[in-house]
Symmetry: C2
DNA sequence: GAACACCCTAAAGTAACTACAGGGTCAAGC
DNA sequence: GCTTGACCCTGTAGTTACTTTAGGGTGTTC
């Protein structure tokens, strides 16, 4: 199996497979001697699929490493695995709590302006400009990874010409 | 006011202020001629505080640019501001929906192993290894930025010695 | 004049990819 | 034999919003 087929089976881009190999997450494939193409077998596909399932649960590479390591020691206790899942569940829940708080603040903010008026009278800007009575404290820091709410394809250019 | 005082008033690190200036979000400060230190006034503090409030709502720099731009035109309609907040609220809600789905999957996964047993018998690994009947599809892509659940301080090293 | 808090710049690191530049390999069709 | 197109390779840079590090100047105090 070459890299395109492996990636297709695992449902991820080819570049991601090469990236995982560089990171060591995926074992380096044997190369075809004549053309230097990577050759994969089913155990590679197994491992890659495992990794992608963990990523779809938003685990970090560090968390995935820990699971892969644990898997290498079938005789050890699985306690650390159970704990890792618990901890990661807390990561996700912590972030949800933050986002719920943000949602509330944004709904409050939005309620400051319903009609379209002149910008100078917009209640939203007014509220952003002066703290007001709503709690403007930044959300208490959590031990969560899992951050953000914006897709990477959001363009962030400002007054610059597009190509 | 020099940079340390400004940062303290706004509740953010000094480096972040310099970073915003490089990005253009914050206007470049006048420099003290003798020592080249940045000198700020209250309008800088206003703008920085505005930016930080938007960031605490998890807006991107692009979204903040749009608000800052709109604020420059007090006579225009504030419709775009209202829409921006609506859209960003959708970003946050979309991410919450994703995280709720993740939470459900993780709870399912965790339920596969309650006692600490040998790793070879761990129901969690078993489930991660073979798709099982639970829906393993990656969460439908949203138009959200706001991603992740892990804090940046999570260490992600594996078998490497610490310094 | 030494300690210490403060300021400066430029460059690299973070997480997990994604994209690009520049080029080799292979099968099919003309 | 040559072109077209799909596939593969390497290496590097870009993404987001910062943070960290290296290396060095400034200002006040003891
Ligand atoms: Zn986690
Ligand atoms: Zn308005
Ligand atoms: Zn947004
Ligand atoms: Zn277990």
């Amino acid at each position: 199996m070459q890299i395109g087929e492996l990636a297709k089976q695992a449902g991820c881009p080819v570049e991601t497979v090469r990236y995982y190999e560089r990171e060591g997450l995926l074992h380096a494939a044997v190369r075809n001697e004549s053309n230097n193409y990577r050759q994969y077998n089913l155990s590679h596909l197994d491992r890659l699929t495992f990794i992608r399932r963990c990523r779809s649960l938003d685990m970090t590479h560090g968390e995935i490493w820990a699971l892969l390591d644990a898997r290498q020691q079938p005789d050890a206790s699985c306690e650390s695995i159970n704990e890792l899942i618990d901890t990661h569940l807390l990561h996700v829940q912590a972030r949800m709590t933050e986002l719920r708080a943000l949602e509330g603040q944004l709904i409050d903010l939005r309620s400051q302006c319903h009609a379209a008026r002149a910008t100078r009278d917009c209640g939203i800007l007014r509220e952003l400009d002066h703290p007001g009575d709503t709690a403007w404290r930044s959300p208490a820091l959590t031990h969560s990874h899992v951050s953000g709410s914006h897709s990477s394809s959001d363009a962030h250019n400002h007054g610059e010409k597009q190509k």
